[in-house]
Point group: C2
Chain length 481, copies 2
Amino acid sequence: MMAKEKKKVEAITSMDEDFAKWYTDIVKKAELIEYTSIKGCMVIRPYGYAIWENIQKILDGMFKATGHENVCMPLFIPESLLQKEKDHVEGFAPEVAWVTMGGNEPLEDRLCVRPTSETLFCEHYANIIHSYRDLPKLYNQWVNVVRWEKTTRPFLRSREFLWQEGHTIHATAEEAVEETEHMLNIYADFCENALAMPVVKGKKTESDKFAGAVSTYAIEALMHDGKALQAGTSHYFGDGFAKAFGIEYTDKENKKVNPYQTSWGVTTRLIGAIIMTHGDNNGLVLPPAIAPIQAVIIPIAQHKEGVLDKAGELKERLLKSDIRVKLDDGENSPGWKFAEYEMKGVPVRVEIGPKDIENNQCVIVTRHNGEKTVVSLDNLETAVSEKLKEVHDGLYAKALENREKRTYSCKNIEEIINVLSEKGDGFVKAMWCGEEACEDEVKEKTGVGSRCIPFEQENISDACVCCGKPAKYMVCWGKAY
Amino acid sequence: MMAKEKKKVEAITSMDEDFAKWYTDIVKKAELIEYTSIKGCMVIRPYGYAIWENIQKILDGMFKATGHENVCMPLFIPESLLQKEKDHVEGFAPEVAWVTMGGNEPLEDRLCVRPTSETLFCEHYANIIHSYRDLPKLYNQWVNVVRWEKTTRPFLRSREFLWQEGHTIHATAEEAVEETEHMLNIYADFCENALAMPVVKGKKTESDKFAGAVSTYAIEALMHDGKALQAGTSHYFGDGFAKAFGIEYTDKENKKVNPYQTSWGVTTRLIGAIIMTHGDNNGLVLPPAIAPIQAVIIPIAQHKEGVLDKAGELKERLLKSDIRVKLDDGENSPGWKFAEYEMKGVPVRVEIGPKDIENNQCVIVTRHNGEKTVVSLDNLETAVSEKLKEVHDGLYAKALENREKRTYSCKNIEEIINVLSEKGDGFVKAMWCGEEACEDEVKEKTGVGSRCIPFEQENISDACVCCGKPAKYMVCWGKAY
């Protein structure tokens, strides 16, 4: 039994040895994805897709509760439409896939496979918005998009990915800015409450804005290896797109004016974030809110009379309490099963054997810390629910601890270089004058770039970390995924 | 009030005058879709997409309850992969969109935008299936697909559409055939129980099979105008794809053998079917199971004290009973609102005014027959639930009646021609010898083609409707959408 378990666990590269290899080992061995013959495009397998479905369900509920409606735009954007907003086309044209033939005929206006859908929403808004009574529109869509990336990694950077893109349009700039911030807060709440992943909320610098945006907000998370991952973005467009696409409405004073827009999105990249925030050397570790299986029941000595019946009974009880439960009554040994569900990151394991049944108890093991608790069967439902809550809280605390341990305050470039080489990658908090030249210089000299200007500002010093001139902001710097 | 209501209703073309125009009027005025600048690609608007979400939710539940798991395959298929199964590529190549450029680089192996995903599933199965223990795999995906159609109509035939495609793989032919039939039955149950739409279940003739299939089953529904609509298909592939793609597994006797496959799908076309099965000259009529709004509350004389409060109270009560309810307390007149929600096909309208409140009652109006019932507020929840059930049953009965009225049994070609010209389009039941030449001749002479060979066979006569030789099957013939 131990031998098999050992073998299974040894099959993953240790995260300390090779973090990148550890990551790809997990996505494959936990059966989240499988590669295909199309570079940068993957099969999302049932276990991986079930995680995405849970993410979708929770986020979609949050969007709808705040008045958003789902729509579906076309997959294709005519080249002439993409070109209407100058900054936007410049940002995206180099990385799009082009459809040039339909059936066996060449197309007159070639079509780009949507890398994002601002231009399509704008065309639609121009058609349906005429009066202030038509505003706001709070739309979202759950779709696939394509960006022709040169280097790709499962979930983190793939040529096709799944996401949601919210696109809203408002009568006033104030309302649109409020929406942009509101959606960033929804993302942050989701990451913390559903994914047990702490995030830094902030504003992107000018050089790091979305193509066509007035301002871009982002949530940034710190991965296990000290690298930063942008987990979600929310953009305020002002009336730039509206002007470029001729979206106008008649206001209450009967004047024609342009409305104001936003867009915001999170992607299947969140699955990569979950892996790199919570995973360990035994495999995946899933936050209970999005785990396809929240509790797995493993019968011990299942050939003995009554064991499988009792295990089945426990399963039914947990199902009735709305816990996503699986009973594995397959032929493999309990040890093999332990390793298997550890690899798959199932938050809670319930062991039940003949002795447990005699004592009207079961053993509950939590994935993130291996802690075993003997629990009376009378309290099964409550005990499992409490353990799930414990796992969530434990994961969040661990992730926050890692981030705090790896967040360094620095006053000059030497300090940045020293702390990173001493303590390893992490977030660097340091002041900035606001000049792009300094932003570039910091990155060039230290390897960390601006992740965001956090909403929660601190005064690390009065001078820019680079040029020493008066500082305007505290920036959160890091190496990005 | 009446004037506005009248105006709104007059805005749709009558279905008797121009059925095609009536259809497109409804999809636009009920705000299901909006056209785009890309031919054959549409925006599915919130109200239309909410119908699709309800369809997805119910069907997805049925798939999962029968052991199916969701996955997600890539959007693109390399040309070399598409070409592996000869019949399949012949069937689809003429109608695919080709990506030939990625970023600014021409692609070596051009990529087709998936028209269907058999080839991708096969590549994946070849990677993950090795032993009989790996079988069966019961997979499904909810995705968009593209077929470069020449003539397009919203929902019925569009260049991009949304669908689910189930793809399963089994150790034996028997198991795969059983799956094919099982999924057809699930589709039929869904159409009857959720969409209130009766269907004919049957097998397609050889000439009408899916490209690459051994046999194709379909459900066929009859629309208001007497034309047939294929509402779902289920294909049995034998081991043809497995052989072409090198999918092999080691069986219990340690021999390498090929597994057997199926695929099955329904699309956003079902929304077109709902419109043309239940709609009327006042607009859309939605079956309650998939209606985004099941009951709309319209306050009468809403400026009077207590009316809006009471209306709000009714809304909360219905929400608690899991009824999808909307309260329209907007500024438009009740008459305008009546017409608006009639256009949108909301199954049940609840009217509440000062006199109703005095008498502790409300008025319930059912969309499909305009029937008004005065109901005590004490029984509101039960009354609305019962009315929703009544609407479903009423819609089904009406659709079945239309189909029966328009189903004709014919013994020879003259009878077909006569009955169609006398009574209008419909289903023709007539015998067939099984020869493709006769199938073609019937279509050429009468305009109706084979829709399917119904599972429920009848003996209309002993001779083929065309050549007079001994008949093998009763075929259901019709003009197809």
